[in-house]
Amino acid sequence: MRIPILKLRDYLLISVQVELDDKTALQFQEDVLSKIHEEGSRGVVIDLTSVEMIDSFIAKVLGDVVDMSNLMGAKVVLTGIQPPVAITLIDMGIMLEDVPTALDLEQGLDRLQLELEG
């Protein structure tokens, strides 16, 4: 299964709408990085509104995508993390501290603009 990645000017937009199994998550990680490379994207928004569960593995994959993209020179913002997901992550002791986040896609794009200007 592949998660579609849309290009919007300098940005990539991704809405995760599938139940993430480990293989799909790792494939997604690779796909985001190749797409950044191909398109010369400066920023990426990953929207997690439809994601009902993030366990420690998926949290690590998402955190790694942010770090890897940073290394390449692109900023990533995670958006739309649902209340049960936020509660569960903190219960687990997973903070994702250095990961930029925003409430929704719209605010994610604003946040990206700020990150890139700042």
Binding site: E52, D55, P84, I87, T88
Partner: protein, 133 residues
């Protein structure tokens, strides 16, 4: 009769199947969305541990009740290598797989009751219960 299902874990797809079975039962018992996420996440961690360390095993998901409480019980069973130092794996941040080391201590915090029984070379059984409040 109380519901019991079990999922064989021998591939990454087993992890997803176990999660979905757990969410379905949790919803049927009447857990809210936050506890559904907690139960599903706990199942995911336990199923992944089976797949990662023992290659195969089973996840049992069942409804349990005592005097005046209902809950969901998850049991993860494998005949894998077992855990040498159970205290160590219950520490936050301890990992032998390059992960976050949040799995088992996380499961204990997500659920209400937690027991772990492991014997080197013989396998591991972990049970966890979440009670409906």
């Amino acid at each position: 009769m109380q519901v019991q299902t079990h999922v064989d874990i021998n591939s990454e797809w087993g992890i997803v199947a176990a999660r979905q079975a757990g969410r379905k039962l949790a919803r049927e018992i009447g857990f809210g969305s936050v506890d559904q996420a907690r139960i599903t996440t706990a199942i995911s961690e336990l199923a992944r541990n089976i797949y990662l360390y023992a290659n195969k095993g089973q996840i049992y998901i069942e409804e349990v009740s005592n005097a005046n409480k209902r809950g969901v019980k998850i049991t993860a069973i494998d005949q894998g290598p077992g855990i040498k130092d159970v205290r160590k794996v219950m520490e936050d941040g301890f990992t032998t797989s390059g992960g976050l080391g949040a799995g088992l201590p996380g499961v204990r915090r997500l659920m209400d009751d937690f027991t772990i029984d492991s014997e080197v070379n013989n396998g591991t059984t972990i049970s966890a219960i979440k009670w409906l409040r």
